[in-house]
């Protein structure tokens, strides 16, 4: 047997060679000091590479990952407490403002009440107009659909029954293809296949 190739040495050390070849190499190594040295050299190299220390994972690493995936929810009691605190701070600030400005608190409250009333009136008018527009839009859409159905009905009177069947099958096929295409686009992430 000829002297070993570098690649052959690695595959021999990693037990990736067939048994007959491995036996031949073992026989050759008994006779060839040069190849023996080359094998030992690479054996030490692989051993060193495979015993390189692992990087240290922080003890709270998995918790950090989970915190990013499922953001921590504030408990209900805590959130109520936070809202109440904010509200109290705002009220206190308003009270201090009134005191410092020297205005009559009752007058301000009355004017505030008027503004809220006016705003509610305006909001009611706007919402009524929006609902009217929505009804009009729905009516137009229905009329459009009716027109399409009328055209289709006149088409069936022109076309023969065989042609109609072919058209239906073709439409179904196109619809299915489009649906699958859409499904593939929607699916995000790694696809192993």
């Amino acid at each position: 047997m000829k002297c070993l190739q570098n690649k052959q040495i690695y595959l021999y050390l990693e037990k990736e060679l067939p048994v007959p070849e491995t036996t031949l190499i073992r026989e050759h190594l008994k006779e060839c000091p040069l190849c023996r040295k080359a094998v030992k050299e690479r054996k030490v190299f692989i051993k060193a590479a495979e015993s390189l220390p692992s990087l240290k994972v922080p003890p709270d690493f998995s918790r950090q990952v989970m915190g990013q995936i499922f953001p921590l929810k504030i408990p209900v009691r805590a959130s109520i407490l936070a809202v109440t605190a904010c509200f109290s701070v705002m009220l206190t600030a308003l009270f201090i403002l009134f005191l410092s400005s020297g205005q009559n608190l009752v007058n301000i409250l009355i004017s505030l009440n008027h503004s809220v009333l006016n705003f509610s009136k305006d909001a009611l008018v706007v919402s009524a107009k929006i609902s009217k527009l929505a009804v009009l839009l729905i009516k137009t859409i229905f009329q459009g659909i009716q027109q399409v159905f009328n055209y289709l009905a006149s088409l069936t009177s022109i076309l023969g029954p065989e042609l109609q069947i072919i058209l239906i099958i073709l439409s179904l096929a196109i619809f299915t293809i489009l649906l699958f295409g859409l499904k593939n686009k929607i699916l995000i992430g790694e696809h192993y296949e």
Binding site: N6, K7, E16, V44, F45, I46, A49, L52, F61, L187
Partner: protein, 202 residues
Amino acid sequence: MPSTTYKFKRAGCPPLHEDKELVKKTLAGRQEAFEMIVQKYQQPLLNYIGRTVGEYELALELTQDVFIKTYSSLHSYRPRYKFSTWLYKIASNYIIDYWRKKKIKAFSIDQQSKEEDSLPPIQVPSQETSIYEKYELSEIKGKIETALEKIPPPLRELFIWRHINECSYQEIAEIKDLPVGTIKNRVFQAKELIRKQMENME
């Protein structure tokens, strides 16, 4: 990367058992199941990413991103495939994207074929300088770490999968979508390049 940050514990390609069950439970809404997946694979993934990018803090960040991406893609995992291979594939693609965004020489197959011209040929052993006679094992490890950063990223990645994460050639072939023969050749080239770099360090 300073070796002081390392934990002396081996973690290669972990076995498959329970993975599919954990995925199933995660998809059913059980958060603790995904946390178990994270705990199981955090070490091998950090080893791979850390050795590939060469910066510990960045590696932690990228490992976290890989787990988040894995979680969001979990619905597309098919149980007929090995979970670890699927996860490592996500990690590998994520690192490639990272290199591309950073405009660092990307892990493309075209570049690989160009680089192959400069790689060492398959040789018969010659009167080479012996590393093991000159240095202690700890010194050799240090030299490997330094040399690893100097070889092309595509080869570095394969070397890490094979000899640091201790994945089989078959599994690496599946992660990289390449034939087993090609993987064996490239891992061999990586090893010889590292050895050449180590010789030049003397």
